[in-house]
């Protein structure tokens, strides 16, 4: 295997930026910004061949594998690859990073160097987590993400930044530490010889063990998603984080949780997945309704968007656990949509915050007259967040609800649908109070419209909103084979376990469905 290590180059390119930034003097803020932007743009460009070279099949592609740690009973490999599930999330990450960096052009004036270093380190962590096929490697990247995000919230955040940062860190840490115990337990139970996820897929654990393992993994992921009632860190973190932090948090970090369910929790513990589906669906639906209701009464625009995140992620979870092609691809699509739309919403909140240094809805009103370009963009993003047909949000939400309706989660889908209405209510109401009405506040009468940089930031997102809304086929096409394989894998393993119980209870099970097990290739 002597192909170009595209994934590694992409993953560690931002690290090169970090190293370069170390040598730039402290005061040259514009150099820091340019350098970080350049590095993130190059990273994005490097990631494009991943899409163009991606074969629309279920295989893991661009595989790189080499031994890393070998000591005692453990064998950890540096093993990275992408399939249809991770492809778009990787792209979303590399796509959103330049936008996030550009958004802080004028917002962050202090310690710009450190800020950029944190952002780039964060990118390494996120990309690494999405491409890792070695569970130990995944865990390292998963944990490494915490540190820069902690500093981003804690140093450049708002009034309650320290509280929010510490809460974010400890919440996520508790979850992930239990995952660590579970993954080591899994390793010993499976007797797999290394931490290769694909090898763990082949192992059939007894249902009782699966329950505990699933709970430990699911806790880590559910905190990150965040699922009700583990979501309380999110509004704090979102509200206090600087704009770029909120954008990245919403666009990518939260996806880490849902991705974890799809990649690890469900295929590794199929029986437990089956068992916990009603619980997770219930929590998702509660999350959808509850977060929407809470969002409705928020006075702070950013908090409102943060709660809308919780609701959106509820849909994703519902779609994922419907465990059929519509639901899963809807969930995956919704992950991307949420990244684009909510990322854009946070940028918008950042624009008005930079101008007025307030985010209270009551401080605004009638901005549309003063800022027509801004109003147009805001409207488009709002509508996409609500899921208006023709925008990206619609396709994902529709598929999720369709999938859930066709699965055993029918009644959850019915309740979940009411969340769509609630979303329209709180988003439109917020939009109306901020943008329409009388321009009474004298401070708002002198506001200037978006400048070229700001429009430039929003433009790629707006294009995506429409492209994904009108023509989502290429996105779905590339992810479908992997999702199908995943569904077949989980379902057969569930049936396999049932068959095992019915026939010979104690006999070791030879998986009949060897064909569905992901074939590892070079």
């Amino acid at each position: 295997m002597s192909q170009f290590p595209l994934i590694s180059v992409m993953t560690f390119l931002p690290l090169l930026g970090v190293v370069l930034l170390f040598f730039v003097p402290k005061q040259s803020h514009s150099v820091h910004r340019m350098l970080a932007l350049l590095v993130s743009l190059v990273t994005f460009v490097v990631s494009i061949p991943l899409v163009t070279g991606f074969q629309s099949n279920a295989d893991f592609q661009f595989v790189e594998k080499m031994p890393w740690i070998a000591a005692g009973p453990f064998q950890m490999n540096y093993h990275v690859a992408i399939d249809g599930i991770s492809l778009w999330l990787v792209l979303l990450t590399t796509f959103i990073m330049p936008i996030a960096i550009l958004s802080t052009w004028t917002a962050v004036e202090e310690k710009v160097k450190e800020y950029m270093i944190c952002l780039l380190l964060l990118e390494v962590g996120m990309l690494g987590a999405f491409v890792s096929l070695d569970l130990f490697l995944f865990y390292i990247f998963w944990e490494v993400m915490l540190i820069p995000m902690y500093f981003i919230i804690g140093i450049w955040g708002g009034k309650n930044k320290i509280y929010a940062a510490v809460k974010f860190f400890i919440y996520t840490m508790v979850g992930s530490m239990l995952m660590l115990v579970a993954l080591v337990t899994l390793y010993f139970k499976a007797g797999a010889g290394d931490f290769n996820v694909l090898r763990f897929y082949e192992v059939t654990l007894d249902p009782a063990t699966q329950v505990w393992m699933f709970l430990a993994f699911a806790l880590a992921f559910a905190i990150k998603v965040p699922m009700f009632p583990l979501h309380t860190w999110l509004p704090d973190a979102h509200t206090e984080a600087p704009t770029a932090g909120s954008v990245i948090l919403a666009a990518v970090l939260l996806k880490m949780g849902t991705y974890g369910f799809v990649r690890f929790a469900m295929p590794l513990f199929p029986d437990a997945t089956d068992k916990f589906t009603p619980l997770i669906a219930t929590l998702s639906v509660i999350g959808i309704i509850y977060a929407a209701l809470v969002a409705m009464v928020q006075e702070d625009v950013k908090k409102l968007v943060a709660y809308s995140s919780v609701a959106h992620l509820g849909y994703v979870m519902l779609g994922v656990f419907a465990l059929n092609l519509q639901g899963l691809s809807g969930g995956m699509l919704q992950m991307l949509n949420h990244g684009v739309s909510t990322g854009a919403l946070f940028l918008i909140v950042g624009f008005i915050y930079e101008r007025r240094h307030t985010r209270l809805i009551t401080d605004f009103g009638g901005l549309a007259k003063q800022m027509p370009v801004f109003a147009t963009i805001f409207m488009i993003v709002t509508l996409s967040s609500i899921g208006l047909p023709g925008t990206n949000g619609f396709v994902g939400e529709f598929l999720v609800l369709l999938g859930a309706f066709e699965s055993e989660l029918r009644w959850y889908a019915v309740i979940g649908t009411s969340g769509v209405i609630l979303a329209a209510v709180y988003m439109l109401w917020m939009f109306q109070r901020v943008m329409f009405g009388e321009l009474t506040n004298p401070k708002n009468q002198t506001l200037c419209d978006l400048n070229a940089r700001e429009v430039g930031i929003m433009l790629p997102l707006l294009v995506l909103i429409f492209v994904m809304g009108v023509y989502p086929t290429p996105f779905i096409e590339k992810m479908s084979p992997s999702l199908e394989k995943l569904i077949v894998h989980v379902k057969t393993k569930q049936q396999g376990a049932v068959a095992q119980v019915e026939t010979v209870p104690a006999a070791p099970q030879v998986m009949p469905a060897a064909a569905v097990v992901p074939a590892e290739h070079k």
Binding site: A71, K111, E143, K161, V166, L178, T185, F188
Partner: protein, 484 residues
């Protein structure tokens, strides 16, 4: 005329001890002629001794030897620990001169005492006779009593020395009594012979006297590694002792305690593994939990690290409880990493501190990152490593400790361990909060960046990061050094 046959004595297994003793005694002599403002030269000379001792252990790897009719051995286990001791001693010497000058107590006896203490630790690690272990322990302890109270002008240091001495003497009593009872029950003090005796005599050997002996020895060692409930001395002694000595005590002697504890339990009482595993998990849970809970509300950073070091002994005990090779290798790896990260953190505490042990509160670090970004980064690396975040040696060490426990079926113990780790994050983050997220209240202009201290910090950073990213080599060494 009867001839007295002298046993053939092979000095090779105790070569590093001899080198350290010779250097120590020579330095005591030289000290008389060195004017007090030039005591740093003694530091350099003692470093030469440390390096010479280090060179002398390199060749011994993989070549097991014993001497003094089986009272001391040179095996990988002992050598690995000797490496840790030399490293802690070397790093401590690097940070000592700066501190001692500042506090105005630069007596040259400091360096010989460190060498003697290191020599004692080495005897503890390579002793295979209870008496040799005891001898090493006493050489170590007596040196440490003096070192803890080394700053004579400072009341807290006096208190630390006295407290450590009184309580240490008690625990030594327990230990010695335990050894005596074990001797009474088995008729030997040689560690491998005890195991042989028990194996040969079965249940007969396991009299109450034997059990009580093991228990008393265990409590003596538990005192030395500061495991709860024998940890009460730690915070006061750690806070009062001169900071370099605190760094030293938390790294070297703790590792020595583990070395002796492990050798005695694993080699002498293998048949009683079920019993001592039960004992150890109780110690582990208590130690982790008490250490972390009390560390949560410490304002003095030295006290905080003292309580956190109690917790760290608890994590190591988790690996010990496992009683398998993974857990044991985890302890070795962890003790080595701990020496790097903890002494590194103390080096920065020394730089930030003012004369008279001032400026040691967590709040005094407000805005440190703004004024000294590189040092703050180093501190952050040490603290993240202590908290067990990847990619640092602290994470890999904890991973192996807990993995050992999980493999041995102690999943719940590993869960208590990781939850403790998660709780510990809070107080490590608190330092980070002050360093990075608060506005500076001081200029930190009194800090002099002594080259020796900076070198120590540099070595420590490398020692935390490199094994965190590519741990294979060290893990393999640790794996080869376990007794199991």
């Amino acid at each position: 005329m009867e001839t007295i046959v002298l046993p053939v004595i092979n000095l090779a297994p105790i070569m590093p001890e001899i080198i350290l003793s010779v250097f120590g005694m020579a330095l005591l002599l030289v000290n008389v002629f060195v004017p007090s403002e030039q005591k740093a030269y003694l530091g350099y000379l003692s470093l030469v001794g440390i390096i010479a001792a280090g060179v002398s252990i390199v060749g011994g790897w993989g070549v097991p030897l014993d001497s003094f009719s089986g009272s001391v051995v040179q095996d990988n286990f002992a050598l690995f620990f000797k490496g840790i001791f030399l490293l802690s001693a070397g790093l401590t010497i690097l940070i000592s001169d700066h501190y001692m000058k500042r506090e105005g107590c630069n007596q040259g006896e400091l360096y010989p005492l460190i060498l003697f203490a290191t020599m004692g630790m080495m005897l503890m690690a390579s002793g295979t006779d209870l008496m040799t272990v005891f001898l090493g322990l006493e050489v170590l302890s007596v040196s440490l009593y003096v070192l803890a109270g080394f700053n004579r002008a400072n009341l807290k240091s006096n208190e630390a020395g006295l407290k450590y001495f009184l309580l240490g003497a008690f625990s030594t009593g327990f230990l010695l009594y335990g050894m005596a009872l074990t001797y009474g029950a088995t008729g030997t003090t040689k560690i491998p012979k005890i195991a042989e005796f028990v194996a040969a005599n079965g249940m007969v050997a396991q009299s109450p006297m034997f059990y009580i002996g093991m228990l008393l020895m265990a409590s003596g060692f538990a005192f030395k590694i500061a495991a709860a409930p024998f940890h009460m001395w730690t915070p006061d002694v750690y806070e009062g002792a001169p900071t370099p000595m605190t760094a030293f005590m938390s790294a070297g002697p703790k590792a020595a305690g583990f070395a002796a504890f492990m050798r005695v339990l694993i080699v002498a009482f293998p048949t009683l593994k079920a019993d001592w595993s039960d004992l150890l998990w109780v110690l582990a849970v208590l130690t982790m939990t008490i250490g972390n809970l009390i560390a949560l509300n410490q304002d003095n950073i030295k006290r905080m690290l003292a309580y956190s070091s109690i917790a760290h002994a608890g994590y190591a005990l988790v690996g010990f409880t496992a009683g398998n090779a993974e857990g044991a290798a985890g302890i070795l790896f962890y003790m080595l990493s701990y020496a790097f990260m903890n002494i590194g953190a103390f080096a920065i505490i020394i730089l930030v501190g003012k004369k008279g042990e001032e400026n040691n509160n967590v709040a005094d670090y407000a805005g440190f990152a703004t004024k000294h970004p590189v040092l703050a980064l180093a501190m952050a690396i040490f603290l993240f490593s202590l908290a067990g975040m990847p990619p640092t040696a602290g994470f890999i060490g904890k991973f192996y400790l807990f993995s050992g426990a999980i493999k041995a079926g102690y999943i719940w113990l590993a869960i208590i361990g990781v939850l403790n780790s998660a709780a510990s994050v809070y107080y490590y983050l608190r330092v980070m909060v002050y360093m990075y997220m608060k506005n500076p209240t001081e200029e930190f202009d009194w800090m002099t960046l002594s080259p020796a201290v900076m070198l120590c910090i540099l070595i420590a950073v490398v020692g935390v990061i490199i094994p965190g990213v590519v741990p294979s080599y060290l893990l393999e060494l640790a794996q080869k050094a376990v007794l199991l």
